[in-house]
């Protein structure tokens, strides 16, 4: 018992090191950073964070990112759940092919899609809107969500569905009250990945927005100035990009950590 926790702890500490280092830098001025290497900073300053909180260009970036990421996660989950259910439970013409085809949409480098997407969304007048980025991210997030959910749904024996129908459940009631609780782990994981891939995605978000919906990741590339990279500011912004995602995984942790429960007696 002990041994496994030691290994795990070591691994987690190693993971945290670069992040801790970012935190370290975010609390110091650029001059301080370049001057010396300290494990525990002595001259702590919050000026980097203050700049972000007070400069609209910065904090709007966060808000914009959160908006389109949440939009994207909702769209993906809502459309992918029925699709995943169908791929798992139904056998229909072309099912295996469509399933694999979905995933192929993640197999091209993003660079390929940039110009066509720009032209497409321009035509609809959707440039610089949150929905444009949310929809663009659907291209790679929906297939992933469908794949993840399908795996979890297939882990639930189809006999459970059949029993419920025999017991007289109508489909919507069965789906929401009986089935969804059984695949909580999967929904939690899928929601997290949707959020994550959309949150860190840079190319589409930058290309499809100009000012009103500009995401934080794009703003961060502005920290290059004549004097080189503004390390402190960049570090602070980096730390702040982790926070929303950390909150998301905190909220879905119960879905991940809870096991599958087949009835109770």
């Amino acid at each position: 018992m002990k041994k496994r926790y030691i290994t795990l702890t070591v691994y987690l500490v190693v993971i945290m090191l670069p992040i801790y280092w970012m935190l370290n830098m975010s609390l110091r001025t650029n001059a301080d950073i370049m001057a010396q290497l300290v494990f525990f900073p002595t001259d702590i300053t919050f000026s980097n964070y203050m700049k972000i909180f007070t400069d609209p260009a910065w904090y709007n970036g966060y808000i914009n990112s959160i908006i389109y990421v949440v939009l994207n996660t909702i769209i993906c989950l809502v459309t992918a759940l029925p699709a995943a259910y169908a791929f798992s439970r139904f056998s229909f013409i072309g099912d295996k092919h469509v399933f694999f085809w979905l995933l192929t949409n993640r197999m091209s480098p993003a660079a390929v899609f940039l110009l066509p997407f720009f032209q497409l969304y321009s035509t609809f007048g959707l440039i610089d809107t949150h929905i444009a980025v949310a929809m663009a991210h659907c291209l790679f997030n929906i297939p992933l969500t469908v794949w993840i959910l399908e795996g979890f749904i297939s882990g639930v024996p189809i006999e459970i569905d059949e029993m419920a129908f025999i017991d007289g459940y109508k489909f919507p009631r069965f789906f929401f009250f009986v089935f969804v609780p059984l695949i909580r782990s999967g929904i939690g994981v899928a929601a997290f990945f949707c959020f994550m891939f959309s949150w860190v995605e840079l190319l589409f978000a930058r290309t499809l927005t100009t000012t009103a919906a500009k995401p934080i990741a794009a703003t961060m590339t502005r920290t290059v100035s004549a004097s080189g990279l503004d390390w402190g500011l960049l570090a602070a912004a980096g730390i702040l990009t982790i926070v929303p995602g950390a909150l998301v995984i905190y909220f879905v942790r119960n879905y991940l950590a809870k096991g599958f429960a087949l009835g109770r007696v």
Binding site: M163, G263, V265
Partner: protein, 361 residues
């Protein structure tokens, strides 16, 4: 193992337990004879799976001891007790063939190949799994899979008891019957102790020699199906067993007769005496089967309005209003259904009296 002895078992899933109602099992003190077929019957949440897991060793009781014969096994893990367990849904090693599934428990215990081969084939024959031995377990139907689960218990010659946790839940109705027959066959042939958990009384009544009725963590009654039907110790047993369950009406005693509202119902002297001496809320119970609907107006009984009729196929159930209480009576297939009034007769020998929900006898 000669018998299974549960000595003052109590169990709570909570770490710091104070009140009685936080116990999943309140006090289980029971001896089960070797070779019997027992059913643990009760509604959801009554503690039957908890008890089963304590017997098999998957759960260690908060207090009390479990003994197999003279040996205290409370601290022994499941693989060291001579038990096998079949779960609610088929639990198999999907990537293995049927043969390897059955062989698995023996391989883990270090038996040699020839012995394993012999035992697996023997068990496969009993369970009619021979044609599937070389197939992957994954692709088979639910009933075959449950047989394999059962088979893994049977291959071990040291297994003396097999525990079943609602094993027919995912089986198709027509196959349920076949599997039940197979279980009975195995019981007769191998003389193993079988303990079968279910919430379905039909399963319990057809399967078991003795039924243990549980309710809210207590053992309410242990008895043969007939005993439970005719002499339910507790109102709950009267209500739970039988379809529909026993009729219960609050009553009082007037002299040697039971008084319900304005009506007086004669009852035998012994029961009357018990009732008069009893303390607590008095109730009369009679099963719909024994609440006779008389065809002749001369028979001693009561004329009551009929409030409903249900058709159950082989018989019908009528509901009547007696002194403000609804009673159900069973009418045999060929008897006529009364239209608006019926004459009901309380057969003395089948009237049961309960004080504070416990049978007076």
């Amino acid at each position: 193992m000669a018998q299974i002895n549960l000595d003052e078992i109590a169990h709570s899933y909570l770490p710091d337990v104070q009140k009685e109602d936080e116990y999943a099992l309140k006090r289980i003190h029971n001896i089960w004879d070797d070779g019997g077929a027992y059913a643990l019957l009760g509604p959801s949440g009554c503690g039957k799976t908890t008890l089963l897991n304590i017997i098999s060793g998957l759960l260690k009781p908060s207090s009390g001891r479990v003994k197999f014969g003279d040996i205290d096994v409370t601290d022994l893990p499941p693989e060291k007790r001579n038990i096998a367990q079949v779960f609610q849904f088929p639990v198999l090693y999907d990537t293995m063939t049927v043969f390897n599934n059955l062989a698995f428990p023996l391989k883990n215990r270090g038996f040699d190949k020839e012995y394993i081969d012999k035992r697996v084939r023997e068990v496969a024959q009993i369970l009619e799994l021979e044609p599937f031995l070389n197939k992957r377990a994954e692709g088979l139907g639910a009933d075959a899979k449950q047989k394999i689960s059962l088979g893994r218990g049977l291959v071990r010659e040291d297994v003396a008891a097999i525990l079943f946790d609602e094993p027919l839940t995912v089986i198709d109705p027509q196959l349920k019957w076949e599997l039940r027959c197979k279980l009975k066959e195995i019981h007769e042939k191998l003389q193993l102790t079988l303990i079968y958990v279910t919430h379905d009384q039909v399963e319990a009544l057809t399967f078991a020699d003795k039924i243990i009725v549980m309710y809210e963590g207590w053992i309410v009654q242990v008895g043969t199906p007939q005993e439970l039907f005719e002499y339910p110790n507790h109102k709950f047993v009267g209500y739970f067993i039988g379809s529909p369950g026993m009729n219960f009406i609050p009553c009082t005693m007037e002299g040697d007769q039971i008084k319900v509202g304005d009506a007086l119902i004669p009852v035998d002297k012994k029961t009357a005496a018990l009732a008069k001496a009893a303390k607590g809320k008095l109730e009369m119970g009679i099963r719909p089967l024994y609440l006779k609907v008389s065809q002749s107006p001369d028979e001693e009984g009561f004329d009551v309005p009929v409030t409903g009729v249900e058709d159950q196929g082989s018989h019908r159930i009528i509901s009547v209003d007696f002194q403000g209480f609804t009673l159900k009576a069973r009418i045999a297939e060929n008897d006529p259904i009364p239209e608006s009034t019926a004459r009901i007769c309380f057969s003395k020998e089948w009237i049961r009296l309960f004080a504070d929900e416990k049978l007076l006898k």
